[in-house]
Symmetry: C2
Subunit: 207 residues, 2 copies
DNA sequence: AACTGTGAAATTATTCACAGCT
DNA sequence: AGCTGTGAATAATTTCACAGTT
């Protein structure tokens, strides 16, 4: 089990297991059944997911909460801080800059870029917006490997190319187009409209 | 094929097929192979997805672009405007309010609510922010069935209950907790941190 | 007795491959 | 000849069920 290839779908579930562990203080141990109750996933799925990474459950007791928390953080790689670069400081970009959820999980937006002169130089949440043309030189100094792209559709492709050239290897893309990654670079596309369209389908299909 | 049960995973793909059709003008017809090229999905998957809903391809030619566009819109239910209520006009909420992508696809944020006196009464993009306590009465008049929730974690559950009570049946939740829906109500959770955690895992696992 | 870890079974999703239409 | 529509084959994911551990 332990040296099987890990399906990518387990990773977001691990994140969610972690969330409930974070707020769980009623006991030192938690069973897969309890995690199931709190997350809505099945107990056997939880056991299987965790077993991909080792055996840290104790039969008849469950999982030791603190240890499991540490283990999941380590698996996800979020046991240390990740510096992130933000490109595009429009409405969505500023929202992401002030979003507390990222910081709590160890993500730190270290620098931000835009091409709009009215935004460049502004200080938002302690981050000074820089001119997009400085992206290459700044990133070389900072050694940042993770980026959030929140620019308009037409700019997205070029921005991604600059980021990859500057050493970024993981990108969260909010621009409404499906960017495809080259080898060694991971791009996750978050398409807010698609989510609304799923809801529209749900309401339409259920009449 | 046509009366099989439709897997939920095909719906977001239909949205993305539509996106590329929208920008496709080189011919009246488009083949599954061409859509594959443009979206990154496989041609056979595209054919199978479309076949769930009928037979509108023409052998040796492909799919008639205009017809396919209309058909997908109809399937998704986005051939007409959907009114949406926004709850929570913080940073993320305001960003969503000004986000152009929604409008282009037929979603219209019709009203917005918050509990912060400094925000209530403000006019954002033509929408006046209302007091959250008026949610019930306003929604009864407007007959809105879709909502976006962008409030802090502790408020989310209560907000969802009020929304459902007021007739809302589909909810896009940005609050960082996994809300579970009661029967007849669809809740999609968008957890931005989970996406960053996936990226962290990618960078960690690939060493 | 209680709960994990895990092969085996069941289910779900994707790809293959080709008959049949234009 | 070219491309769809779809059963069959394959692959991926989830659930079952139970042996083994504390």
């Amino acid at each position: 089990m332990e040296n099987e290839k890990i399906p990518l779908v387990v990773i977001p579930r691990l994140s969610l297991y972690y969330r409930v562990l974070f707020g769980f203080y009623s006991s030192d141990f938690i069973s897969s059944e309890e995690i199931a109750q709190l997350t809505g996933f099945s107990a056997s799925q939880i056991r299987k997911d965790l077993a991909y990474f080792g055996q840290f459950g104790i039969p008849s007791k469950g999982y030791q909460v603190d240890e499991l928390k540490r283990t999941i953080l380590k698996i996800l790689g979020t046991d240390k801080q990740w510096d992130v670069v933000l490109v595009g400081v429009g409405n969505l970009g500023s929202a992401l800059l002030t979003y507390r959820g990222f910081g709590r999980l160890g993500f730190k937006i270290k620098c931000a870029f835009d091409n709009d002169l009215r935004k460049i130089g502004k200080n938002l949440e302690g981050v000074v917006v820089q001119d997009i043309t400085e992206l290459g030189t700044t990133l070389k100094k900072e050694n940042i490997r993770m980026a959030i792209v929140a620019v308009p559709q037409d700019a997205a492709c070029e921005v991604v190319n600059s980021l990859v050239k500057a050493g970024v290897r993981a990108i969260l893309n909010f621009a409404p187009l499906r960017l495809q990654a080259q080898a060694g670079v991971e791009i996750l596309n978050v398409d807010l409209s698609v989510e609304l369209e799923k809801l529209a389908y749900f309401l339409t299909a259920s009449k």
